[in-house]
Amino acid sequence: GAGVSQSPRYKVAKRGQDVALRCDPISGHVSLFWYQQALGQGPEFLTYFQNEAQLDKSGLPSDRFFAERPEGSVSTLKIQRTQQEDSAVYLCASSFGNSPLHFGNGTRLTVT
């Protein structure tokens, strides 16, 4: 596709449920990033992949958050035992070399 694609666009989960968010980066983009954006705030870094290697996961808020990119293209962000504070927009971005990050439109997660 022409841009970064994220699915689902919206997800409602009951507290305690597990969720999985998918990101399809731009074809050929080596680097992939996940960010979390709370309402009225700027995006906050969660984790960074180069190909299939997760090089930095320092931004993941807790061990309930897990990300993978097994074949170096599609990535999944998984959140276990969701809590209300996990409600946010989760943005995926990809880039190639030193090019700027291209963001998807995000998944809005609401935990009730």
Partner: protein
């Protein structure tokens, strides 16, 4: 600690009324400063990258400038379609880290 502060938080302009948005930063070793535009329900859209003090970049009614401590996004004769949230970010690279640190954004409303 690496930090980005944007001001004002919100700005309302009349169509044609020029103004500037401010982004001040503290970062250990600036690799790049980025401006993004974000529309409601969308991911951030890349506008500019600036790398060194004194650098300027222009695109249509927007012009970005950079000093050693801050960046300005100048909007000349804005139109209603320029209404959006404008995000500033600094790139932090080191070891395994490669991430953008964002400010909280300036919400711009341009009234006809």
């Amino acid at each position: 600690e690496d930090q980005v502060t944007q001001s004002p938080e919100a700005l309302r302009l009349q169509e044609g009324e020029s103004s500037s948005l401010n982004c001040s930063y503290t970062v250990s070793g600036l690799r790049g400063l980025f401006w993004y535009r974000q529309d409601p329900g969308k991911g951030p859209e890349f506008l500019f990258t600036l790398y060194s003090a004194g650098e300027e970049k222009e695109k249509e009614r927007l012009k970005a400038t950079l000093t050693k401590k801050e960046s300005f996004l100048h909007i000349t004769a804005p139109k209603p379609e320029d209404s959006a949230t404008y995000l500033c970010a600094v790139q932090v690279v080191g070891g395994a880290t490669n991430k953008l640190i964002f400010g909280t954004g300036t919400l711009l409303a341009v009234q006809p």
